[in-house]
């Protein structure tokens, strides 16, 4: 649905039914995209709302699907968020700690959930640019889209991906080692005896 032609109505400038329809169709996807990038649902929702506010304050001139525009703006906001929030890392690590302590995955999903939790923990330790480049690539973006999102030339994207993957593998391996120690600690507090 195009939004270029949308204008304020009697219901209030800009807060019209048309905008509401655009919001309803696009917001969940943008939140999900941002959750994937920043790894925190609360922050993702805040950033998604800011993304929409930008679109609503400055509607696109041409009618057309606002999805790609929203996605690009959301990605840039995610990058800024990851770069500028100096307490983000400590916060995310707390989230991870709480998450792994509180989560009680079913036996069937446990193994995959553990792998996902490790990956989350490893991603948190990557520099924002590395993290974003890897995640965007994995979500199917080409170098031409990754480059502006992380502020480099397209010819540098390969180098960033190579370095980022090496870092990610290192951090992931570290997480696997840490989990073993953590699991033993939990078993001990639960009073479970190992033979």
């Amino acid at each position: 649905m195009g939004v270029g032609h949308l204008e304020g109505t009697a219901a209030g400038p800009g807060w019209s039914e048309e905008w509401r329809a655009v919001f309803a169709s696009q917001y969940p996807g943008i939140v999900r995209h941002l959750s994937y990038l920043v790894g925190d649902r609360g922050a993702a929702e805040d950033l998604a709302q800011e993304t929409f506010l930008r679109l609503m304050r400055h509607p696109l001139r041409e009618a057309g699907d606002p999805g790609p525009w929203l996605r690009l703006v959301a990605t840039r906001l995610a990058y800024n968020y990851l770069r500028t929030d100096r307490r983000r890392r400590a916060r995310e690590e707390t989230v991870l700690r709480d998450g792994t302590l509180l989560a009680a995955p079913s036996a069937g999903e446990a193994q995959r959930d553990e792998a996902v939790a490790r990956m989350r923990a490893a991603l948190v330790r990557l520099p924002p640019r590395d993290r974003l480049a890897l995640l965007l690539r994995a979500s199917g973006e080409g170098y031409a889209h990754i480059a502006p999102a992380v502020g480099v030339r397209p010819s540098s994207v390969g180098t960033i991906l190579a370095r980022a993957t090496a870092r990610l593998r290192r951090e992931y391996a570290r997480e696997c080692g840490r989990d073993l120690v953590g699991a033993e600690g939990l078993l001990a507090t639960e009073g479970v005896r190992t033979p």
């Binding site: 204008e7 304020g8 209030g12 400038p13 800009g14 807060w15 919001f23 309803a24 917001y27 969940p28 939140v31 999900r32 959750s35 649902r41 609360g42 922050a43 929702e45 805040d46 709302q49 506010l53 930008r54 609503m56 304050r57 400055h58 509607p59 696109l60 001139r61 525009w69 690009l72 703006v73 840039r76 800024n80 307490r87 400590a90 916060r91 707390t94 989230v95 700690r97 709480d98 995959r112 996902v116 939790a117 990956m119 989350r120 890897l134 690539r137 994995a138 080409g142 170098y143 397209p154 540098s156 390969g158 180098t159 960033i160 991906l161 190579a162 993957t165 090496a166 990610l168 593998r169």
Partner: protein
Amino acid sequence: MTHCAPGTLWAYVDGELGAGDRETVERHLAGCRACRADLAAAGADAGWVDRRLVDYARGVPAAAPDAEEVWQRLRDVWGAAMPLRRAEAPAAAAGRLPGERRVSGRRAGWPIAAGAAAALALGSLAFSPVRAAAGDMLQVFRVQQVRIVNVSDMDVATIQSALRSAGAVVNIQGLAKVRVAPNAGPAVMTLEQARGRVEFALRAPTAAGLPAGYALQSVRVQPPTKIDFFDLKVPAINGVLASLGSKEQLPAAIGNGGIQLSVPSAAILAYTATDGRSPIQIAETGNPQLTVPVGVDLQAVRQVLLDLPFLPPDLRQQLQAVSDWQNTAVIPQVPGISDPVSVNGAQGVFVHPKGSSGDTALLWLKGNVVYVIRGALTLAAAEAIATSVV
């Protein structure tokens, strides 16, 4: 060509090289075993990261946010505060895809004020029974609050105005949201009307208790206020607490339902004298009530508050020494400015700031009602009024 750089090999694996570059790389690979090994490694890395991140993507919660509910909230909150205009410069906007964060003064200042308000509110929970939202009482304790949470007079003014903007929902730097339930503001009425309006037994002094020549001039009732702290991001809050030097952590359960601070209505009785002597005010209010989700260990919350490093150690010790703390009015005392006194058999405090206009305040708590008498009164004169109030 020299050996292939890792980035070039990645671009090759991902099919991102232009035709010319691709041919060059392939020619080199054909004759270079080391680069063929590197290419294999790059391919393995790319495959690994693909598999892992696809799994990771699946692990991102798919639960769709309730777009309708969010829309309503945004429209209610932002619609009022920031009426949208038509694009002022559509070309610039559409072209400015990846804009840097443009934070206007209003939005930049707002979270700071809200954050300070939250800090004040949380910090003052330790003193909740005496910290009614009645403006007059806030005056009495302003110096205390400023010292404890380390905010300037201007900050206090900002906080008060932030709290007064009824119905506003603000995001406190992503930690929580605060909503002040709208209320009508103070209303002037007769004593009898006020008695029917407040939740407690409103008492007035007798003529004999008042200094000669004083008569009731007005009665103002401040309706009850409810302050909601909701959408608490407990891990984030704990991160902030940790960065403030706190070792204690808020229990995760507190995020389930948020915190509600209900401040009951307050009545302010103003007495004036015909001969121009300064007025006397008697403020009465019920105990503020703090509501936290079921399952939250209040003791743990209290410990977090007591642990806040900006609490002076001696104050912290006194607070810790209060055994029946859930039901105790903790009254700040400043040596030389306020003294503990006994009022009608209840523990109270007499505040007599030096170098001020001579205004004093006598404050006590009896039967779940907080009483404050303000005026240019000696302790004996204030006590005489207090005795006649009961």
